[in-house]
């Protein structure tokens, strides 16, 4: 404990230096801006700012990049709430309840709750990071590939139950995401799969294209001719922005649960904050007394995923810094930034460069406070974006999405893919198939395959390994239970609404 305080003192001394605060602010600010832009997420933002960090000392560089990271996550949810267009892929789940809230005139409240949820999630995530780092590492190491596979499967099933439609449709969409995830080159054998001879598909489909297409473009197509509810508010007062006491109380437990879910998934290498936010949403829906509210503006539906998202962002640093294993592409970039400065992450990082490690941890506190201070006043401005007539807004958004997608590979083919998924997403939406589970399936797909392969390899081809390993068996059982539960509650809901209309 004494040691912890001493370390934190060292860290704060680092983090509270003027240089670090300044660069933290720059990172958070740029991150939020970039996060709002659809199609450009934290990954792109960090890679763009990486060269800037060459001239800074390693601690400062990491502080700034980390600020961009969680700033972008927050910016992403701004776009999700206001435009139903995820600014970053992990904020896609916030569209589900955030945008309905905005349509009901509660955009300010939604933005406020996401800010608070993000803040609390990040703070508690940092605490988890501090306390549990050694223990989490042990737990993560005891997970074998079969166990990871089972967890992925649970994630997929949870994703299927997110949408308010029938679970069958959700499962179908998850599977669709899995199939789309196969497009590209197989890592193990180098064989191109599902590429139809198109060179643009050989590297697989970018998640940005899929997310922007199935969420963004399809949403815009659906919205253009939709009659708009006119809000006759001349000015949004501060009071309207702040949630009522009842709403805050509603959001409290979801925030805590979201933090727990996020901390877990963030620390687990391979699963990222996207999965964390989706799983947290699914959990909230299961735990809620009246799950039919979800999809129509339930506060839990934005508070929990945001907390999970940010908690996962923080705890993602655990395997990255402590084991040297980046949990995601963004973490890999962070690792790269460190190595450029001659610091090798891993178990030696904490002992060899304590000021970097603890300075970073302390900067998380500072950065999140800055994020909160920066964004609360801006909520009023963001809400005004909603008042722009949609007919002026959507062409601008289309242009932004195009540029964002094009900037990935400078390849017009990606825009073609965007159009394809946009149309597909629109038709599927009309049929009541929600795109969110497909996104999860797409993200998890390659990992599912990898773990399946490894598990079977280690088990010499024996498929019962999934049932004989205790962790794997428990998790699989939970997945099955989840499907059964979801189908049962869905058919109960159908019966209830059929009786109501009869």
């Amino acid at each position: 404990m004494m040691e912890l305080t001493a370390n934190l003192a060292l860290g704060f001394a680092q983090a509270l230096s003027l240089t670090n605060i300044f660069y933290c602010f720059v990172g958070v600010f740029v991150g939020t801006l970039v996060g709002v832009l659809p199609g450009i997420g934290s990954l792109a933002a960090i890679s763009m700012l990486l060269p800037v960090t060459f001239y800074l000392n390693p601690g400062t560089a990491l502080v700034m990049l980390a600020g961009v990271y969680y700033g972008a996550e927050y910016g992403g949810s701004i776009a999700s709430i206001l435009l139903n267009l995820p600014g970053t892929t992990s904020s896609a789940v916030v569209c589900l309840d955030g945008h309905p809230m905005a349509k009901r005139g509660k955009a300010g409240v939604a933005l406020f709750i996401t800010a608070i949820g993000s803040f609390v999630g990040a703070m508690l995530g940092i605490v988890v990071l501090l306390i549990l780092t050694p223990r989490l590492v042990d737990v993560a190491l005891s997970f074998g590939p079969a166990d990871y596979f089972a967890i992925m499967l649970l994630g997929l099933v949870a994703a299927a139950t997110i949408s308010s439609g029938s679970p069958m449709k959700g499962i179908a969409m998850v599977l669709f995401g899995l199939v789309i995830g196969c497009v590209g080159t197989d890592i193990d054998t180098g064989q191109p799969r599902f590429t139809f001879g198109l060179p643009g598909l050989v590297d697989g489909i970018s998640i940005v294209v899929l997310a922007m297409g199935m969420f963004g473009v399809s949403e815009i197509i659906a919205s253009i001719l939709r009659p708009k509810e006119q809000e006759l508010q001349s000015r949004i007062t501060v009071r309207e922005m702040i949630p009522t006491y009842g709403e805050m109380r509603q959001a409290l437990l979801p925030i805590l649960r979201g933090t727990a879910v996020g901390s877990f998934f963030g620390a687990l290498p391979g699963t990222g904050h996207t999965i964390a936010s989706f799983m947290s949403y699914a959990l909230e829906k299961k735990v809620a007394r009246d799950s039919s509210r979800f999809g129509h503006g339930a506060i839990e539906g934005i508070a929990a995923p945001e907390s999970a998202n940010n908690a996962a962002c923080q705890t993602a640093f655990i395997p990255t810094l402590a084991l040297g294993i980046p949990g995601s592409a963004t973490m890999a970039l962070m690792l790269g930034a460190l190595m450029i400065h001659g610091i090798t992450p891993g178990p030696r990082l904490v002992t060899d460069h304590p000021e970097v490690f603890w300075g970073l941890i302390a900067s998380f506190f500072v950065g999140n406070i800055l994020l909160l201070l920066l964004n609360i006043p801006l909520i009023g401005i963001w809400v005004r974006v909603l008042r722009i007539p949609y007919n002026l807004l959507y062409p601008a958004v289309i242009a932004l999405v195009c540029i964002g997608v094009y900037s990935i590979n400078n390849n017009p083919f990606d825009i073609g893919l965007l159009a394809f998924f946009g149309l597909l997403g629109y038709v599927l939406r009309l049929g009541g198939f929600s795109p969110a589970p497909a996104l999860v399936g797409f993200v998890l797909g390659p990992m599912v395959e990898e773990y399946l392969r490894r598990a079977l390899l280690l088990a010499q081809g024996d498929a019962t390994v999934f049932l004989t390993r205790p962790i794997s068996a428990t998790v699989l059982f939970m997945a099955v239970a989840l499907i059964v539960w979801a189908s049962w509650s869905h058919s109960k809901q159908r019966r209830r609404s059929a009786e109501a209309t009869a």
Binding site: V34, L37, M48, S163, M168, K169, A172, M173, L175, F176, L178, V179, C182, D186, D188, T189, Q191, R193, F194, V217, E219, I220, I221, A222, S223, I224, L225, L392, P395, A396, I398, A399, C402, I403, Y406, S407, N410, P412, F413, I415, G416, L418, A419, G422, L423, L424, Y426, V427, L428, R429, L430, G431, G432, F433, E449, L452, R453, L456, G461, D462
Partner: protein, 169 residues
């Protein structure tokens, strides 16, 4: 998500019209049908890859598995949709869809040849055609404003490697 608030016109002249009844299934059928088609295409293609053994899965094993699962589940969805009518009517927004897709295509064509500013402007113009009452002056101003703003943000601000203006030669 938002499909439910596309109003349902179940009755035409007081009686459930034949169109309305069969169109009630249509959304599910078309959506499920697309997924089913994807699954079957996947099955067909994946079967051609090396499947390997359970111990050493080949390139085709996993795609085969997931395509097969997709086929089965979408079959269930489609058959349910045929047997049990769903709610709501089919209203496909043709004009917006064409406008948006056209806008994306325009961008994809113009960008490599002419650069960012013309591409953004054209995509704004084509996308705006999806509205019911399109005011040409508003569209022109919007196109100008958006393309300049995009240039400022992406090329000047973020320093992305995109050509702002380029000659096609």
């Amino acid at each position: 998500m938002c499909a439910e608030d596309l109003g349902a016109r179940r009755h035409f002249l007081g009686k459930p019209s034949f169109w309305a009844k069969s169109m009630r299934n249509m959304r599910d059928i078309i959506g499920g049908g697309l997924l089913l088609a994807s699954g079957m295409i996947g099955l067909f293609i994946a079967a051609g890859y090396d499947l390997g053994t359970p111990r050493r899965m080949g390139a085709g094993a996993y795609p085969l598995l997931v395509s097969g699962a997709l086929t089965m589940v979408s079959l269930v969805v489609v058959s349910r949709a045929v047997l049990r009518p769903a709610e709501g009517a089919l209203s496909f927004a043709v004009r917006p869809a064409l406008a948006i897709l056209g806008s994306l295509m325009a961008f994809a064509i113009v960008m490599p040849f002419f650069g960012l500013i013309p591409a953004a402007a054209i995509s704004v113009v084509v996308a705006s055609l999806g509205q019911r009452h399109a005011n040409p002056i508003h569209i022109a101003l919007l196109a100008l404003g958006v393309s300049l703003a995009c240039w400022l943000v992406f090329v000047v601000g973020l320093k992305l490697p995109l050509a702002a203006l380029r000659s096609p030669l």
